[in-house]
């Protein structure tokens, strides 16, 4: 049976209390707003990408539960320096692990993101973990005008 302590790992508490790369990225050239209409949560992801769509810098801001804030925070750490294709592949791997389509051991590239794998036993919380990723995906797909995306 799923224990709630498997979901709320220490790393998640720590990132929730002290989110990394939090706030507006001054010289961003991409951004998107993500909504989770089920809970009213909203977060904005800011990106600075180079000519080849490689992520030079990334930040986020907004409100959310511990899972969504920690996921966004961890995401910003792993995304820096990643090419668009690498970012998309990470999203896919992360999504697959969260939805039990892939085992954590089969996705070593997730690195620290693996602490969020506990959501797979809490289906109602998967969207909390993936909101930031849906949002960054939308930001990478769009131009500077920005995009809106929802988990529904």
């Amino acid at each position: 049976m799923a224990d709630v302590r498997d979901l709320y790992q220490e790393v998640i508490f720590e990132h929730n209390k002290n989110p990394r790369n939090f706030g507006v990225l001054e010289d961003h050239n991409r951004h998107a707003v993500g909504h989770n209409p089920l809970c009213g949560d909203q977060l904005t992801v800011y990106l600075r990408v180079d000519d080849q769509d490689t992520v030079e810098d990334v930040s986020f801001e907004g409100t959310g539960c511990a899972i969504s804030v920690a996921s966004a925070s961890l995401m910003t750490q792993i995304l820096k320096g990643k090419a668009k294709e690498e970012a998309e592949a990470l999203f896919q791997a992360f999504h697959d692990v969260c939805t039990k389509q892939r085992e954590v051991e089969d996705a070593p590239e997730l690195d620290k993101l693996a602490v969020l794998a506990g959501v797979r036993d809490f289906p109602s919380r998967v969207k909390c973990a993936t909101l930031a990723w849906h949002t960054v995906h939308a930001a990478l797909e769009t131009d500077e005008a920005g995009a809106e995306v929802t988990t529904e």
């Binding site: 224990d3 709320y8 959310g64 804030v69 919380r125």
Partner: protein, 419 residues
């Protein structure tokens, strides 16, 4: 358990009674995450007593057929059960005439029905629809839709920091252009009981009809539509210990007689030709198609069940639980109550500093405690109190002080983990 054995009308409902009644609800007998289920989400939907489950099963086993059609025995039995339920609903809410009771899917459909039909009948450009800041989305969006179609405009009565209507603003906003006042009886997000008599009296002085969303009131307090003098009253069966997919729209006869159909189809007609159709009188006019036949049967059993206990006793029981819980939760550091009206029903909404409601919900669930987290389909209320979401505890007839104790203990555990 037979319905007659349940009730002790006119008596108080004690925790011992509630524990006994809890045994009538099979779904509450289970464990969740290895702990006995503590269900504190009756405002979202209530659990069903065996009497309701049995009534629906028995109906399917012995009397099921289509209604108002065919001369055969089963059809007559089904029609009697269906129309008997309508008469029972009329009695339950104090309507003088069962033709004033329309069966719908739920309160949402009822409000859409009135907005669409009455809107087409009499809303025009510049006419005003007066709502309140504490309405559920289902008592906002249908009015926005008809306002877009007719050019009518929405006016909103604000609420104060306690979550009570600003009645001075209500007076100010009520005008000769007001074509509808739509208000909740009890707020699902705040628990506030609104001063309906005053609202109805003032609206009527201005010639405006009043629709009351009674979803949270009908399961919690005695409703008498004749005494309230409201023009429309609606509630959903599933919050009143009955089946989901069945709801009630009460409408004063003169309104229902005047209103055009909401949906077209079988059952709602008098005579159909390709040149034109004449419509059946209410309530059939508003019940197109084969209805949810077993729904009213289950609702009938649910009304018998709660009447057996007594609505007054039920209200007092939930009030006592609310007072007990309010006092206890105030001792928990970092808690801010959302909704502190003087007049409240058994709903307790709060935020906990530094902890998102979703995390509270998940951690409590892990202890077998079911609460609601989110915006409760009342985003304007969340905006008013500047919170993204709240955690909501809501009571039913089966809850006890022990449930409250377990919840408070759970909340302390949440704080240890997250705050």
């Amino acid at each position: 358990m037979a319905v007659e054995e349940v009730g002790r009308p006119g008596k108080d409902l004690t925790d011992a009674d509630a524990r006994r009644l809890r045994a009538d609800f099979p779904c509450l007998g289970q464990e969740v995450h290895g702990r006995p289920l503590i269900y504190l989400d009756s405002a979202a939907t209530s659990q069903k007593p065996q009497a309701v489950i049995d009534a629906v099963s028995r109906f399917y086993e012995t009397s099921y057929s289509n209604v108002h059609r065919g001369a055969h025995t089963l059809s007559e039995r089904a029609t009697d059960a269906y129309e008997g339920a309508r008469a029972r609903v009329a009695e339950f809410i104090g309507a003088g005439d069962s033709r004033e009771i329309v069966f719908v899917r739920g309160a949402t459909e009822a409000i859409n029905l009135v907005a669409s039909s009455l809107g087409r009948l009499q809303f025009g450009a510049g006419d005003e629809i007066l709502l309140t800041e504490m309405e559920h989305h289902s008592n906002i969006v249908p009015w926005q839709l008809i306002a877009e179609q007719t050019g009518a405009v929405l006016k909103v009565v604000p609420i104060n920091d306690n979550g009570e209507l600003e009645m001075a603003h209500f007076e100010e906003q009520l005008s000769e252009r007001t074509r509808m006042v739509a208000v909740g009886h009890v707020s699902n997000a705040l628990g506030t009981i609104n001063p309906l008599r005053e609202i109805v009296a003032r609206a009527h002085e201005m010639g405006a009809p009043v629709l009351v969303d009674g979803c949270q009131a009908a399961p919690r307090l005695e409703v008498d539509v004749a005494e309230l003098d409201c023009d429309f009253y609606t509630f959903s069966g599933h919050k009143l210990y009955g089946p989901s997919g069945i709801g009630v729209l009460y409408g004063k006869r003169q309104w229902l007689e005047a209103m055009p159909p909401y949906q077209g189809g079988g059952e709602m007609i008098r005579r159909v030709t390709f040149e034109g159709t004449t419509y059946a009188p209410p309530p059939a006019r508003f019940e197109a198609g084969t209805p949810h036949i077993s729904g009213p049967v289950g609702l009938h059993a649910a009304l018998d069940y709660v009447t057996g206990i007594g609505l007054e006793a039920l209200f007092q029981h939930e009030r006592e639980l609310l007072d007990y819980a309010t006092e206890a939760i105030r001792e928990v550091p970092g808690v801010r109550l959302i909704g502190t009206a003087a007049e409240k029903a058994g709903i307790l909404s709060f935020v906990l500093e530094g902890v998102h409601p979703h995390d509270i919900g998940t951690i409590l669930d892990n202890q077998g405690i079911a609460v609601r987290t989110g915006h409760h389909c009342a985003q304007p209320v969340m905006d008013r109190f500047q919170v993204p979401a709240t955690t909501r505890v809501s009571f039913g007839l089966y809850n006890t002080r022990e449930d409250v104790d377990a919840f408070i203990q759970g909340l302390h555990q949440v704080r240890e983990m997250l705050a």
